[in-house]
């Protein structure tokens, strides 16, 4: 029987390329990136919290600077494997009273983690969450199964096509992808096969029932005209969570943390401030 956990304690931090900054004595705030990207996508948001909070950034296994050899198709066959990683990071760093900020699929990963260890999480911030992307009876997620297949083809074309096949050769000597902006798409590089699997797991998952397991107060940050998580999905999440607040941003698209970082920071700040006052 194969051990499911990661063998060594220190390795959890290496496995997920965990970066800690900010005030060591502050309340911990964990930022989790969504599908298709890595922790770099918090670059305009996380620094705004450095004064007050202990910032924890990480990459999901398979993304960014994570340890690709730790990828295990069985462990990551559902979002629970990713939620376990979040809990292992929290345990490793001894994080309590955690504010978890999850974008896109990581919003649901946070929901699973908070449902598993409710005492560890103080607040959840869910940016563009969707508990189910594929339409179901009486539920509109916005996509069909064929659409998800289309995404996999799109990943093939982009990751395995000519340009991306050449990119690693160009980047081979570059240990620091942040220096490679002039080159081809150098951020958010992912292993193509892992990306495919993660896409399938993400976009075919159904975590609607898990929303009710969350006790911590949650903020649902909904963008205007989000092609991935439509407003009615955000409203659904808000309705199903025991204690939540829905804020619809002026920002459009699916990545307000990149396209409208200031508005995003303000909304999170307001939510945390208000909760602190209430507590």
């Amino acid at each position: 029987m194969r051990a499911r956990g990661y063998p060594c304690r220190v390795s959890v931090l290496a496995r997920n390329n965990v970066r800690v900054s900010g005030d060591p004595a502050g309340q911990p705030i964990v930022f989790a990136h969504g599908f298709g990207c890595d922790q770099a996508m918090w670059r305009y948001v996380a620094p705004a919290f450095e004064e007050e909070y202990r910032i924890v950034l990480f990459d999901h296994v398979g993304a960014g600077g994570s340890d690709l050899s730790a990828y295990d198709r069985e462990r990551y066959a559902t979002l629970d494997g990713y939620a376990q990683d979040v809990l292992e990071i929290c345990r490793e760093l001894g994080l309590e009273d955690v504010v978890f900020v999850g974008h896109s699929v990581s919003a649901m990963i946070g929901v699973l983690a908070a449902a598993a260890e409710p005492e560890r999480f103080a607040r959840l911030v869910l940016v563009g969450p969707s508990p189910r992307y594929v339409d179901d009876e009486g539920y509109r997620g916005g996509f069909s199964r064929e659409d998800v297949e289309g995404l996999l083809e799109s990943l093939d074309s982009n990751y395995l096509g000519w340009s991306q096949a050449m990119a690693p050769v160009i980047m081979a000597n570059d240990e620091r992808p942040e220096l490679g902006e002039e080159l081809t798409n150098s951020f958010c590089r992912t292993d193509p096969e892992i990306a495919r699997h993660f896409a399938r797991v993400t976009f075919l998952s159904d975590n609607r029932d898990d929303l009710r397991g969350v006790r911590a107060p949650a903020l649902v940050l909904q963008c205007s005209a989000d092609a991935i998580a439509p407003q009615e999905v955000g409203e659904y999440v808000h309705r199903e969570l025991a204690d939540s607040e829905l804020v619809v941003l002026r920002a459009t698209g699916h990545c307000p943390n990149l396209s409208a970082p200031e508005e995003t920071v303000e909304a999170i700040r307001a939510f945390l401030g208000r909760d602190h006052a209430a507590a």
């Binding site: 996508m41 289309g150 982009n158 096509g161 081809t184 951020f187 698209g253």
Partner: protein
């Protein structure tokens, strides 16, 4: 210095330049799109409209670029393209499909630049759209080829590690594929690929004509078990071939060990059927005669003696088989005691056996089984020694004790020197005065002596046959 035609025509130049730029923008061999940061299309060129069949008015009425993408690509746009554009300010060669007005899809490559205003706020995105129809087809081929190549590589790995030997010989008689097991079984050295099979594999020419070869797609013929000689080694191979069209695929298994067991079993059956039946027939015949006829006392005594002798011979054969079996199973317990070899040897002395033992020699071993081993040697010498005298000599040599048993018979032919120690192997009765035996005496004697930490050898020189038992001296160590 400016070109001459521009002199004095400054007024006319500006509209001309504008017209050229306009023409270049609208008629460029690629699509141009300008969008707001949220994707709202604000400008688009003729090329793009021509390729996609969309109406300029409809696109500029608040349509967002991502709405022109197939749903799967829309997800990719939001999860990859948009984040990259915001972080890098530019993205290159994003592969998506644009849905045309008629619903068909146009594979394109997108290059985009995000322009920010003086305050750093995103202002506009400029996108170049390339028709990637041919290229995408090629890439799809490439991807398919790559996945096929990976599948082949996995198959090759599996083949390499198959426990059976696999050998592909092409129609020119050259080795196309030989896996690791084939190399080990057939004695191939290094990379045999491309070498003529008859040259690379010693013994192939003798083997190949006997290998059954079936046709591809049919049930393969039964495997043949064939002897395979390379150099001094003789192996038995279970082998079958399949004609794959571009050559023959052979699969091998080395069954030498299985074959040895089978041979042994066959020999056992021979021995039982022959060697046991003769004394049994004697016992039966004598007993029948005793029952049916009222014989005189001396004739009765003669028959009873014969029955006893034949029964003793039978017991000896059965004992030898039992001891051999118990040796194999590791069930035979041997004592490790001091044995007086001189006394032991002298117990064999009679009118045909002379024993020379100058001084008492103590060795370590199991007396009962040592007596059995020495008995076998003396019996053999009496049987095969041509009727002459048998000499048994006990001596010390260094730290070892030796018992030498020699006869004056015809000796052991060189070809038989090792085989006489194989079980159920017997010397040709025609060459040895019709004497036959079970073929267990020597192999069991050797196994027993070896279990006691000694050796049993056939001395190379001298007339007749000279066997030596060597044992550790009791006082040594």
């Amino acid at each position: 210095m400016p070109p001459p035609e521009r002199q004095g025509s400054g007024q006319a130049l500006e509209p001309l330049l504008e017209e050229t730029l306009e023409e270049l923008y609208e008629g460029a061999p690629c699509g141009y799109l300008s969008t707001l940061p949220d994707g709202t299309i604000v400008r688009v060129n003729e090329t793009f409209l021509g390729w996609t069949g969309h109406d300029r008015g409809a696109l500029l009425a608040g349509m967002r670029f991502q709405e022109l993408l197939a749903p799967g690509d829309r997800i990719f746009h939001e999860t990859h393209y948009a984040p990259l554009l915001h972080m890098q300010g530019t993205v290159r060669e994003i592969a998506v499909e644009i849905v045309r007005a008629d619903g068909s899809r146009l594979p394109v490559l997108l290059n985009s630049v995000l322009r920010r205003d003086a305050g750093g706020e995103p202002r506009v995105v400029r996108t170049t759209v390339f028709d990637a129809t041919d290229r995408r087809r090629y890439e799809a081929e490439l991807l398919r080829a790559r996945r096929e190549a990976e599948a082949r590589a996995r198959a090759a790995t599996a083949l390499e590690h198959v426990a059976d030997g696999v050998l592909l010989v092409d129609e020119n008689g050259r080795i196309a594929v030989a896996n690791a097991a084939a190399g080990a079984i057939l004695g191939l050295e290094g990379d045999a690929g491309g070498r003529p099979v008859a040259e690379a594999i010693d013994g192939w020419a003798e083997l190949e004509p006997h290998v059954p070869v079936g046709a591809a797609g049919r049930e393969p013929p039964p495997r043949a078990t064939l002897p395979f000689r390379r150099g001094e080694r003789e192996q038995w191979l279970s082998v079958v071939g399949v004609d794959a069209g571009a050559g023959v695929v052979y699969t091998f298994r080395d069954v030498t060990a299985d074959r040895r067991v089978e041979t042994m079993r066959d020999r056992l059956v021979d021995v039982v059927s022959h060697e046991l039946r003769t004394p049994l027939a004697g016992v039966y015949g004598a007993a029948q005669t005793l029952v049916a006829h009222d014989l005189p006392e001396d004739a009765r005594a003669q028959l009873l003696t014969m029955i006893a002798e034949q029964a003793e011979r039978l017991r000896g054969i059965v004992d030898a088989i039992v001891v051999a079996r118990r040796l194999d199973a590791g069930e035979l317990e041997l004592a490790d005691a001091v044995v007086d070899l001189t006394a032991l040897a002298q117990s064999f002395a009679d009118e045909r056996v002379t024993v020379e033992a100058p001084a008492p020699v103590d060795a370590r071993g199991d007396e009962g089984h040592l007596r059995q081993a020495l008995g076998s040697l003396v019996d053999n010498a009496l049987k095969y020694g041509g009727g002459g005298a048998v000499r048994v000599q006990v001596e010390e040599q260094g730290r070892r004790a030796r018992v030498v048993v020699a006869d004056d018979g015809p000796g052991i032919p060189p070809s038989e020197r090792e085989r006489i120690f194989e079980r159920f192997h017997r010397l040709d009765p025609d060459l040895h005065g019709g004497v036959s035996g079970v073929g267990l005496g020597l192999p069991v004697a050797r196994a027993l002596v070896e279990r006691m930490g000694g050796r049993l050898m056939l001395e190379p020189a001298g007339a007749g046959a000279t066997f030596v038992i060597e044992l550790p001296l009791a006082r040594a160590g």
